[in-house]
Symmetry: C2
Subunit: 110 residues, 2 copies
DNA sequence: ATATTCTATCGTAATATTGCAATATACAAT
DNA sequence: ATTGTATATTGCAATATTACGATAGAATAT
């Protein structure tokens, strides 16, 4: 085994899990924060921001892209990365909803 | 290699990544949703809700507990699990903050 | 005492992730 | 054309995760 069993879960559960998984590494959190901190998309520069080898950063960027959290456009020599707002919004709203559901009923609990 | 390099990232980045990682599996999302859906903490019952073997579910519960997302109290024969609200709030607020930071500056972008 | 029930842990196999050096690719500049 | 710069891909080793059967422990019921 070792492969996640996605079949038996809902699409929503799987898609949220995929987003969360993509965010489950400090380097990818750092990349996201950096893209947000800088005032626009970034052409180049990301590798220098992180304490990881270029190949490793490229891999993390690929995973973020696969998860739909960032997008990258070729901009001459380098590549211009920026946040895919929709995905971030999706996560934000999911947890907001969870929290509010919890708030309603957290009375009779441990 | 294969081990995440946490040393070079901030505590906040590491802790958010840990929470996200714990949520990066549909079974764990399903567990969380179930704990929220049911009106109080659950003693037993979780295994029957999931399409996974008992040992596997137990392992997922352990990971959620390690990440601080749920807590479990022994309740006679079985164990009473419920959501650790603080952790959920932490995630919610983190993404809310990210989103709002993004909203301010997403003008000059791809 | 014995059986039953619930949960955790151990052991193990399959697969995935992390990280990097080396190499490849693509464009830009000379 | 050659060189330099930026990024991706490949190949590999180390480690982590996922899943489950088997087993163990602890409380309950018979």
């Amino acid at each position: 085994m070792g492969a996640t069993k996605t079949d038996h879960f809902t699409d929503k559960q799987n898609s949220i899990a995929l987003l969360a998984k993509a965010l489950g590494h400090p380097a990818r959190i750092a990349i996201l924060e950096y893209l947000i901190k800088v005032d626009s998309c970034i052409c180049g520069d990301i590798v220098n921001e992180l304490p990881l080898a270029q190949a490793t950063v490229s891999q993390h960027l690929k995973e973020l892209k696969n998860a739909g959290l960032i997008k990258g456009e070729i901009e001459g020599n380098s590549i211009c990365y920026c946040i895919e707002e929709k995905a971030l919004t999706q996560i934000e709203e999911y947890f907001k909803k969870l929290s509010s559901k919890l708030a309603i009923k957290n009375s009779k609990c441990c």
